[in-house]
């Protein structure tokens, strides 16, 4: 079998990855924003529940979450199962990223907002969130690279993705080295692009920060 035929065969499963990743990015961002803001508000019971969730997720491998969900709950489709499992898993990390971003904002801004008579959610939406968005993009990108990489696990819930096709292809060609090399390159390209975006943003963010410092110094 020629190399390009292999590539074509393997990439038939790439659609699943390309559908799954954006869905998980959006869902984890929603979960992370909501839980991150709630956690930041420091209401005792809610904070404890969120902390429990985050700690549990930090301990459990994504593969185990995928299997637990797949074997326990019927979620309609394998895609749905993979989507929910990855959202639960990565949502916890995004929650922490959002919270970290919020905590980096100087405390005085909350007081300033309150003194203007603004409510908590209003202050969050118009003061905090806009500020942290750019700041947390590099860290978020790092997390999304992990999302992309974790899509290699979804064949355990029966999704016929790249890794599934790879197994089939190897059964025919007995050429695991080339098959997994191709897959490695495919994933590398996708992740590398996200990595590149992250470092671009990071540079511009730190550039802005430097510029602000320089301005302060000049005053």
């Amino acid at each position: 079998m020629h190399l390009h035929e292999m590539v074509v065969y393997i990439t038939r499963g790439i659609g699943i990855t390309f559908k799954l990743v954006p869905c998980v990015i959006v869902s984890t961002l929603i979960v992370g924003m909501i839980l991150g803001i709630l956690r930041f508000k420091n209401i005792k019971v809610i904070s404890q529940i969120i902390d429990l969730y985050v700690t549990a997720i930090r301990g459990i491998p994504p593969l185990v979450i995928l299997m637990a969900l797949y074997f326990t709950v019927k979620l309609g489709s394998s895609f749905m199962t993979a989507f929910v499992a990855l959202t639960i898993y990565h949502g916890a990390y995004v929650t922490e990223i959002v919270r970290g971003g919020l905590e980096a904002v100087p405390k005085g801004q909350m007081d300033a907002g309150k003194s203007l008579g603004l409510g908590y959610m209003r202050i969050m939406a118009s003061v905090y969130i806009p500020q942290i968005m750019l700041q947390i993009i590099p860290t978020l990108c790092g997390q999304y690279i992990l999302v992309v990489k974790d899509t290699t696990l979804v064949s355990v819930v029966g999704l016929q993705d790249i890794m599934w096709n790879a197994k089939e292809l190897i059964a025919v060609t007995y050429d695991p080295i080339r098959v997994y090399f191709i897959i490695g390159v495919l994933y590398f390209v996708v992740c590398f692009i996200i990595d590149l975006i992250a470092s671009r943003v990071e540079k511009s963010v730190s550039g802005r920060y430097q510029a602000q410092l320089a301005e302060k110094g000049a005053q």
């Binding site: 700690t55 930090r58 491998p61 185990v64 695991p176 997994y180």
Partner: protein, 215 residues
């Protein structure tokens, strides 16, 4: 899950736990060593060497561990290298996580105070000596919290061993399900992983307190 089912499964669970713990420890140690080697080579600031290491870290940070693991597991026999599955798994983890550890240490190296380096240089020490005695010890101490965080990810990485026919914790959970179609085992395994993580975090906090440098 009946108690009879559980007692017949328990030995498998304990076996899996043992494999996961040992593999995790091995993976953590080798990844940290490999990461240190990469980071210190890069700290020597020899251009071509630094470029190679940069490419290496970029490749392995951006390639899924499972792909690397399969590549080695199915690839080694092709070149007539007969390694046990567990060795393939640990090598894959080391290659991947070593890249992350190296990046963590590199970040810490960049944060070592310039003056402390100058103080050593002003005594007439060579670049290698400064890296060895000042930059590296300080960077390692500063990066301990992040390396511990990465280590807890390594514990989770070992769950992929179940996909290359190793009976680890994850595989033990799956085996029970395959026999009785009862997912309770998977949830138990999940709890065991959380327990491992909590124990590891506790130990980590003790280590952190020991090595922290006050300024």
């Amino acid at each position: 899950m009946t108690s009879l089912q559980f007692s017949s499964w328990l030995p498998i669970l304990l076996h899996g736990l043992r494999v996961t713990v040992l593999a995790s420890l091995a993976g953590i140690v080798t990844s940290i060593i490999w990461g240190c080697i990469l980071a210190s080579l890069r700290a020597l600031e020899i251009k071509p060497l630094s470029m190679i290491i940069r490419a290496y870290t970029s490749i392995f940070r951006n390639t899924p561990l499972l792909v690397v693991m399969f590549f080695l597991f199915y690839g080694f026999p092709m070149i007539n290298l007969d390694l046990p599955a567990i060795a393939c798994g640990i090598i894959a983890i080391t290659l991947n996580e070593g890249a992350f550890v190296a990046e963590i240490i590199r970040g810490a190296i960049q944060n070592v105070k310039k003056g402390e380096i100058e103080a050593a240089r002003s005594m007439g020490l060579s670049r290698a000596q400064v890296v060895h005695h000042i930059i590296f010890p300080l960077a390692i101490r500063d990066s301990v919290p992040m390396i511990l965080g990465q280590s807890s990810i390594i514990i989770k990485d070992t769950s992929l061993f179940s996909m290359i026919m190793i009976i680890d914790l994850t595989a033990a959970g799956r085996q029970f399900y395959a026999k009785y179609f009862n997912p309770t085992s998977i949830w138990i395994v999940g709890l065991v992983y959380i327990a491992l993580f909590l124990i590891f975090s506790l130990i980590g906090r003790l280590i952190e307190r020991k090595v922290r440098v006050n300024r």
